[in-house]
């Protein structure tokens, strides 16, 4: 009975989402690009790290659809393999941030009190503090590297989710079904995580989607400043960063346009999808 209700709700949401053209476009973009990243070895015969000095800086051709870079590496192969890492970085950071934010938000919203007051202030500081500066300082602490970057993004990006979850908990903990749970003697932890938390998940999902987009951009921005993932590893940020020299921009457009467009397109898709999700899942609209 409950399951049927749930699935009909999900169906309704799915219908709503399907009718949102932008969201569908976004979803298609993300799905196609993620699929391409996963299937990278099938889509290109080239190794993204294989140097071929004889074939440096070749314009696009049938052999190399997007040409080759300054070391004769296939640009398409690098983009496809780079997608794996960039998407993983964006998604993992968003998940990490959401996890921290959700846990803190649960406690903060459910128990209130001094913990809530302190955490609210702290989250305010994190929101207001320019993220790029925080990241710069943290990069100095933890150094460069994929895991460090994910860690840094996660600890700088939790405050939004925290505020969402906390606000939800605040309003939900006074709901009658929570009171009822308490009356039945159900434990606090169980109420928090089993009964209230599921009701806060839809805004969290939306914020994870949008955060993923933000972190992919942040990764490329950090690579631009030379503080992202070590340069030998292909990520979208590193690929475009390797092509920012002015002579490359003027003479070898295939080195910077494809990564630029790829980053923008993916982030665009994620944002469209996230907006669509919000329209569907957010009861306020």
């Amino acid at each position: 009975m409950q399951a049927a209700e749930k699935s009909s709700l999900a169906m309704r949401n799915w219908e709503k989402l399907r009718r949102n053209r932008l969201a569908v476009t976004g979803f298609v973009i993300i799905a196609l690009m993620s699929l391409a990243a996963i299937l990278a070895p099938l889509l290109t015969p080239y190794d993204p790290g294989a140097v071929n000095l004889a074939k440096r800086v070749q314009p696009p051709s049938w052999a190399h659809l997007l040409g080759t870079d300054k070391l004769g590496r296939d640009v398409l192969a690098r983009l496809l393999y780079g997608a794996r890492l960039s998407i993983v970085i964006g998604l993992c950071s968003a998940l990490g941030g959401a996890l921290i934010g959700t846990v803190l938000g649960c406690f903060s919203g459910y128990f209130g009190g001094w913990f809530d007051k302190v955490m609210l202030r702290v989250s305010e500081l994190f929101m207001t503090f320019p993220q790029i500066i925080l990241i710069l300082i943290l990069v100095v602490f933890f150094g460069q590297g994929v895991f460090n970057l994910i860690f840094i993004f996660a600890i700088t990006g939790w405050s939004g989710t925290y505020r969402l979850v906390r606000a939800r908990f605040f309003s939900l903990r006074q709901e009658s079904y929570v009171e009822a749970c308490r009356a039945f003697g159900i434990g606090e932890a169980s109420i928090m995580f089993k009964h209230i938390l599921p009701n806060t998940l839809s805004p969290v999902i939306v914020s994870i989607t949008l955060m993923t987009a933000g972190f992919i951009l942040a990764e490329s921005g950090l690579s631009f400043l030379g503080l992202g993932v070590p340069s030998g590893i292909p990520t979208w940020g590193n690929i475009i960063n390797a092509a920012k020299a002015i002579d490359v921009i003027q003479n070898n457009p295939w080195l910077w346009i494809p990564p630029g467009v790829t980053i923008s397109l993916f982030v665009l898709g994620t944002n469209f999808f996230g907006d669509g999700l919000r329209d569907v899942l957010d009861p306020n609209q």
């Binding site: 000095l53 300054k70 070391l71 020299a245 003027q250």
Partner: protein, 561 residues
């Protein structure tokens, strides 16, 4: 109630606006202060109005880089470049063969037969830009400061450390250099032992004005507020400084030599990656460029020409022979000479130089570029030969399961590309490589932590003393390549003492032979530098040298079109 809130809101808005206005007006007063600091505020205003329509060209201003950050850098560590050589002068000047024989602040010099006593007769018509006369006392005081200075080029400090009384001064036992004496306009410098590069040093090292810097601590001399708008004694003086933006050099009317024809030089604060766009916008007339790609891009404009310059600038792989733990017997991975030979044989340096740095890099066989007369043609040459490399590795019993750690500290894209390629070459012969960027305290990381097997490094030296002093057991290099006093020390000491060109050539030859034999450094390339000139604006004398040294550009013949 509501009205009170409105009042508060109003107050808040006013406060905010006032704050912003304060910020903006602060900004304006800031730039006013800067132009007031220049000689004539009115002058800049009128020229400013005149030049507004013409975009950069034909206003008689020579535009170059090397502009100030918050202040200028001092002139004893980095001593070259248009700004530091035109604002500050030296006792001697190089001739076209780069021999320190021309006079500048000095009108004559003598060297004693034992090469331990030098006398310089100084000009008496030189004035600092604030009108004070330049005297031998300035030189004597500057020498004493240089001996105690923390930020000074190694060749300078090496030479001045040999002045009689330098040790006592450093130890705090004396107040001045007893080896430097003044008699009228004659300055006598006594050394404890011959210094081969002493005259070269005097052609590169500029004295500072004593009367303006006397109260500074020698250790922080280079940080003095003097450097916000330095006072020198050259043909050009600073008239306007806008920190982080630009500074103007204008002719100094009381200059003792021939006055240049170019009346104003604009030093713009620009970073390497902006050179090309600046040039394309016609806002650069003269600029040294390290990257050939940039130079190529710039000369696509018919206005520009790029002039290649040979200089002692080398890039190499430094093996860590000591290993991470100095108490063990060294770095087993690469201790065997055959392994280092193999790794060098495995790198196709010719095609690297040709492909990555076309026309810019020359393959290097020793630290001495092959184009220089000092190059020893008999030193061992390691050509590209992967088969031989594999064979050498087999012979040495190399363990192919271990990973060679290759580090680098340059962050430019070409370096990253190069490292990726070297990694590729080594992997071709079956060696596992892990490449990473060295970040943080380079000194500690290179010499104390030593968490690498090879380090990609560079050296730009004004003299071979700098290049080979590294291996001397009093040098810092022993922490990485290990001490071998019996091999390197006698030769390096000999080089330090020798000033006769032929004798020096001989010592340098022997040093190269030793270097190539033991591969305590694996040479990669020597690199050229380019000087780009906007021909449609500027006519130079056609002499281009190592831009980071003091050489005679014959600036008085330059003119703007």
């Amino acid at each position: 109630m509501n009205s009170m809130k409105k009042a508060w809101l109003g107050v808040l808005c006013v406060v905010f606006l006032v704050g912003l206005l304060a910020a903006c007006s602060n900004d304006n007063s800031g730039s006013n202060v800067n132009s007031n600091a220049g000689v004539n505020n009115n002058g800049t205003e009128t020229t400013g109005n005149e030049e507004q329509p013409s975009e950069g060209a034909s206003d008689g201003i020579l535009r170059t880089g090397q502009g100030p950050a918050d202040k200028f850098s001092a002139a004893w560590a980095d001593y070259g470049g248009l700004f530091k050589t035109q604002v500050f002068r030296r006792l001697l000047m190089l001739d076209e063969q780069l021999q320190p024989v021309h006079y500048d602040l000095a009108t004559a010099y003598t060297m004693s037969d034992d090469e331990k006593t030098y006398t310089f007769t100084l000009r008496d018509d030189v004035k600092w830009h604030d009108g004070e006369p330049f005297t031998p006392e300035d030189v004597k005081w500057s020498l004493a400061m240089a001996v105690q200075s923390a930020q000074i080029n190694a060749v300078f400090s090496g030479a001045f450390g040999k002045i009689v009384g330098a040790d006592a001064l450093k130890a705090g036992e004396a107040d001045e250099l007893s080896g430097v004496t003044i008699d009228g306009n004659t300055l006598t410098i006594e050394l404890t032992e011959p210094v081969g590069v002493f005259l070269l040093t005097m052609a590169q090292w500029p004295p500072y004005p004593k009367h303006l810097l006397e109260s500074e601590d020698p250790a922080t001399l280079h940080l003095a507020s003097f450097w916000e708008k330095p006072i020198g004694n050259g043909p050009y003086m600073l008239t306007e400084v806008v920190p982080n933006n630009y500074a103007m050099l204008e002719l100094y009317p009381d200059y003792y030599g021939t006055a240049p024809k170019v009346e104003k030089i604009m030093l713009q604060t620009i970073s390497e990656d902006q050179l090309v766009t600046k040039a394309q916008a016609g806002e650069l007339d003269y600029m040294p460029v390290m990257d050939l790609n940039q130079a190529t891009e710039i000369v696509k404009s018919p206005d520009y020409e790029a002039n290649p310059v040979d200089l002692l600038y080398v890039r190499f792989l430094m093996p860590n022979l000591v290993g991470q733990n100095a108490t063990t017997d060294g770095n087993d991975k690469i201790a065997d000479l055959r392994i280092r030979q193999a790794l060098l044989h495995a790198i196709d340096r010719e095609s690297l130089a040709g492909m990555l740095y076309p026309d810019q890099a020359e393959v290097l066989q020793t630290l001495v570029p092959t184009a220089l007369p000092e190059y020893n043609e008999e030193a061992v040459v390691y050509d590209y030969n992967p088969e031989k490399a594999k064979q050498l590795l087999e012979e040495a019993g190399f363990d192919f399961n271990q990973t060679i750690r290759l580090q680098y500290y340059y962050t430019d894209q070409q370096t990253v590309d190069l490292i990726d390629t070297i990694k590729f070459f080594w992997e071709e012969i079956g060696v596992k490589v892990e490449a990473s960027l060295m970040q943080g305290n380079l000194l500690e990381l290179i010499y104390t932590k030593r968490d690498y097997d090879f380090l990609y490094a560079g050296l730009s030296a004004m003299a071979f003393e700098e290049a080979y002093g590294f291996f001397h057991s009093d040098g810092i290099g022993v922490q990485v390549v290990g001490a071998s006093p019996d091999k390197w020390d006698p030769l390096v000491d000999e080089l330090r003492r020798t000033s006769d060109p032929d004798d020096r050539m001989d010592v340098i030859n022997r040093l190269q032979a030793m270097e190539a034999e033991f591969l305590t450094r694996m040479p990669l390339f020597s690199m050229k530098q380019y000087v780009i000139v906007n021909k449609s604006n500027l006519e130079t004398a056609g002499i281009y040298g190592n831009e980071w040294t003091n050489y005679d550009r014959k600036l008085e013949e330059w003119s703007m079109k």
